[in-house]
């Protein structure tokens, strides 16, 4: 059965317990940051920060709104990162999440180039290119696997207002739809359950009171077209062309050797005839 996380920004108080719990459970250290005049901190996802709450100040209908958005891997069903990962380090879990097998990571960074949500991060050595990608593992890192042990992910466990919920994806999307209807009834006409259908269904869904871009989320995210051109057309074509070339060269060898030998035989015969005659 597919599982998911449901995030309701209206319930979020931006206490960032989830941020801290994520770091604590996954043994990611704190990073020194500088004040940028906002409570939002750190400023971006990093290899040590797999989850962060973004703060947004918006004006709607003459009212000031402080919107909080959860930023982390969205665990797409149609995940561009899984499509492009050349080593199989990124895969789908049977629960629907995108799991990460760090041992296998080659550090190529294709996942970061192709992720529609720009969530994978890595520390890259400029000269050698050596790197290891990092992203939310949904607390399923081997040895630290909360989900297999029957617990909720650390972020959900730590949430004091139930802005984060973990459960069956079907139940949570039903719950999300109900909340959207309630929002719409109260005049939030743009209210939208983000992630229910995006990219074949995300495994982190958002109960948005407004259109996605207000929350800094991409409207109608897509697997980049280059993914298909590369992985579904060019690469299979490359295998075919490579194999056909090797077969073709082999055939040429057989044909050419045969004709060459028969030519030599007739030449010899003619020489012999000439010598005799």
């Amino acid at each position: 059965m597919e599982k998911a996380i449901l995030f309701d920004p209206a319930l979020c108080t931006a206490c960032r317990a989830c941020q801290v719990a994520c770091k604590q459970w996954n043994a990611n250290g704190a990073v020194q940051t500088t004040s940028r005049g906002s409570y939002e901190n750190p400023s971006d996802l990093t290899p040590e920060t797999w989850l962060k709450i973004e703060f947004r100040e918006v004006e709607r209908n003459g009212n000031f709104d402080w919107l909080f958005t959860r930023r982390a891997c969205m665990h797409c069903t149609d995940a561009a990162c899984v499509r492009v990962c050349p080593t199989g380090a990124l895969r789908h879990h049977e629960l629907g999440f995108v799991t990460y097998h760090k041992d296998l990571c080659s550090g190529c960074g294709y996942c970061r180039d192709f992720c529609p949500f720009d969530t994978p991060r890595s520390e890259r050595d400029f000269l050698t290119g050596l790197a290891k990608m990092e992203k939310c593992t949904l607390c399923m890192t081997p040895g630290l696997d909360r989900v297999a042990a029957g617990y909720e992910p650390a972020c959900v466990k730590s949430c004091p207002t139930d802005a984060l919920k973990y459960g069956g994806r079907g139940e949570l999307s039903a719950e999300g739809r109900k909340r959207i209807q309630a929002l719409q009834a109260r005049g939030y006409t743009n209210a939208y359950l983000y992630g229910e259908k995006e990219l074949g269904g995300l495994h982190v869904m958002y109960v948005l009171g407004d259109s996605p871009e207000v929350y800094g989320l991409p409207t109608d995210p897509k697997v980049p077209p280059a993914t298909f051109a590369w992985k579904d057309v060019l690469q299979p074509l490359g295998w075919a062309v490579g194999a056909l070339t090797l077969v073709g060269l082999g055939l040429n060898y057989l044909v050419a050797r045969k004709t060459k030998l028969s030519r030599e035989r007739t030449d010899k015969k003619e020489e012999g005839n000439a010598a005799r005659g």
């Binding site: 041992d103 296998l104 190529c108 180039d113 050698t128 280059a226 062309v241 490579g242 090797l246 050419a256």
Partner: protein, 220 residues
């Protein structure tokens, strides 16, 4: 002893083998990302590190050669773009020559035959293609807009497929084809020792041989 003529100078041969060697490393370390079952060989990125070392050699070696031997380089580059009726003759005779081993069918070829010219052209084009797309991935990772990085990977792969496949054809044509046996004649000798027998020059690069004979006639 049989008389010989020089086909490739020592500096050209060194460039050839350095470039070919670095390409072989690039080919294999790229292949592990291209064929999924080989993917595990790339883990921890050591193949990528090797790829970068080889890439520097692959890009820089021709530039050093260009700086040291400008005149010779220009002559060689001109050679790739100089096409005459013997090249159309090569294409027409291709099947009879390479499949039916009919050596009479081939019109006299220049210093490089048409196949060699096409490969040499492809080497120049793909050198630039690998360099541009590779530089984007090396130096602009996370800096360039993602769409550039996405298509850089695509184009790098495209050049890889074209050049990788022709790399095999090149090796086969030089040392594998029944007509080039035994190995220690012709193409192999020209790139390994630099010299080919007069007989080989006359029969396989007739137009070039004529030119040598003519210029020697003028000199003496």
């Amino acid at each position: 002893m049989q008389q010989e003529v020089e086909k490739y100078s020592k500096s050209t041969r060194i460039l050839h083998w350095v470039h070919a060697g670095s390409f072989a490393v690039l080919f294999l370390t790229g292949l592990v990302l291209f064929i999924p079952p080989l993917g595990t060989l790339a883990q921890d990125g050591w193949s990528r590190l090797l790829h970068r070392v080889a890439a520097v050699i692959f890009v820089v070696a021709p530039l050093i050669y260009l700086g040291m031997y400008w005149e010779k380089s220009m002559t060689a580059i001109r050679e790739a773009f100089t096409w005459g009726k013997e090249d159309f003759g090569w294409m027409k005779a291709g099947y009879r020559y390479y499949f039916q081993c009919d050596e009479e069918a081939m019109p006299p070829q220049g210093h490089m035959n048409t196949g060699q010219k096409m490969w040499w052209l492809l080497v120049m084009v793909s050198w630039a293609g690998f360099l541009i797309t590779g530089a984007v991935m090396w130096f602009a990772k996370t800096l360039a807009p993602p769409v550039f990085l996405q298509w850089a990977v695509f184009l790098h792969d495209l050049v890889f497929i074209g050049t990788g496949v022709m790399f095999f054809v090149h090796i086969y044509m030089s040392v594998g084809h029944p007509l080039v046996h035994p190995l220690r004649e012709g193409a192999w000798n020209s790139m390994f020792r630099g010299k080919v027998s007069v007989h080989y020059a006359r029969t396989h690069h007739g137009k070039w041989f004529e030119e040598i004979v003519r210029s020697q006639g003028k000199n003496s």
